[in-house]
């Protein structure tokens, strides 16, 4: 499995973190613009998904796939949104995104008094812990898949 990149948006739709691990194409726009584009897309997409859904179930996660990559979305009940791009071989990363929220975001952003809500997460410790979780998930899957 390959994880390309990860966007984290706060409940107001502001891009508060971006990380990449294996992104091959250099983006043609700034991080902010790209963030707005991604956020706009997932919100619209979710709106459509809910409207056309044949089931009366609201889910806080979905993914779509192209022939080359997969975009995964998971939202915490508090409205923090995680968007992760992976390759097509990747299993469902919903649980991974959830554990990034519970073990990294809550522990090193929410409980860090220096991190202010709505501001970009400027913490090396957070980045480091996030990297550990991502890497752990990769080695785990490469052994089992």
């Amino acid at each position: 499995m390959t994880i390309h990149n990860l966007y984290i948006f706060d409940r107001n739709g502001i891009l508060v973190y971006y990380g990449e691990w294996n992104r091959k194409k250099v983006p043609s726009m700034s991080k902010e613009e790209e963030g707005k584009l991604v956020y706009g897309m997932i919100i619209s997409l979710r709106g459509v998904i809910e409207k056309v859904s044949p089931l009366d179930i609201k889910d806080n996660s979905f993914h779509y796939r192209t022939s080359k990559y997969k975009m995964n979305f998971w939202e915490s009940p508090s409205g923090v949104k995680f968007v992760m791009n992976t390759d097509l071989n990747s299993p469902n990363v919903k649980e991974l995104l959830r554990s990034i929220y519970t073990q990294v975001y809550v522990e090193y952003v929410v409980k860090n008094p220096l991190c202010v809500q709505g501001e970009f997460i400027n913490s090396e410790l957070f980045a480091q812990k996030l990297d550990e979780v991502i890497k752990a998930s990769l080695s785990y899957t490469s052994r089992t898949v």
Binding site: R11, N12, G13, K36, Y39, G40, I43, S44, N60, S76, P77, S78, G79, V80, Y101, T102, Y105, V106, V110, K111, Q117
Partner: protein
């Protein structure tokens, strides 16, 4: 010394005089009453035993209780600091609520991460979860009561004001809402799960009421932020 004091009579001067005697002691040093031999013998043996017992160290009885006491004392020190810092008690009340709000918006994330609860679907559900949160973080079990007709307003009731079990308000602080951090926490936490609520204290054991009652009213559901450039 005994005789000296006993010679003085009359109630009005006695207390003051005695106080002076007691505090003079610091200056005067100690006065030995017993015979010196008895005293030294006893002291020596005590010292000897104290050496033997030196490995026996102090122990703190209940670490879990220490958590809540530590919070209670720190909060108390903060409130009395704010009372000194701000001229108006109303300002102190506002600051306490604000501190609570800031704590609430962080606390709720931990609560959601821990419990894996989804968003609340109505106020009944919210009341139940707020009650669970009190149990989890503070070891308190507030009651839920006084629902309004439309189920949009309810009360949390406490036997006494949380964090205030040792507090006796001075007369100068009769308008102080000592526990005002709580409505702030509730407001902050609810806002993070898309519920705008109003919360305030309507009964307070510190003010002589039988219970402490926190009122919570649903205002509106908050919607997700719409991306720029869309309807």
């Amino acid at each position: 010394m005994v005789k000296q004091v006993r010679q003085i009579s009359g109630v009005s001067c006695t207390v003051q005089l005695s106080k002076r005697i007691l505090s003079d002691r610091i200056v005067a040093g100690t006065v030995r009453i017993h015979g010196p031999n008895f005293f030294w013998l006893k002291r020596r043996s005590q010292l000897d035993n104290a050496r033997k017992m030196s490995r026996q160290t102090a122990r703190i009885a209940d670490p879990k209780k220490v958590n809540s006491e530590l919070f209670t004392l720190t909060y108390g020190a903060l409130v009395s600091q704010l009372v000194r810092d701000y001229e108006s008690v109303d300002d102190v009340n506002k600051h306490l609520e604000r501190i609570g709000y800031n704590i609430g918006i962080r606390l709720i994330e931990d609560f959601l991460a821990r419990t894996n609860f989804p968003r609340c679907h109505d106020m009944r559900d919210a009341a139940d979860k707020i009650q669970q949160a009190f149990k989890l973080y503070l070891g308190l079990s507030p009651g839920i009561s006084n629902w309004s007709n439309g189920n949009e307003e309810f009360s949390l009731t406490f036997e006494s004001t949380p964090f205030a079990e040792f507090v006796e308000l001075p007369d100068s602080c009769s308008n102080l809402k000592y526990g005002n951090i709580l409505p702030g926490v509730v407001r902050g936490a609810c806002e993070m799960v898309q519920m705008e609520v109003q919360s305030w204290i309507i009964q307070d054991t510190l003010k002589g009421d039988n219970i402490t009652e926190l009122r919570i009213r649903f205002i509106k559901k908050l919607e997700d932020a719409i991306p720029a450039g869309e309807d």
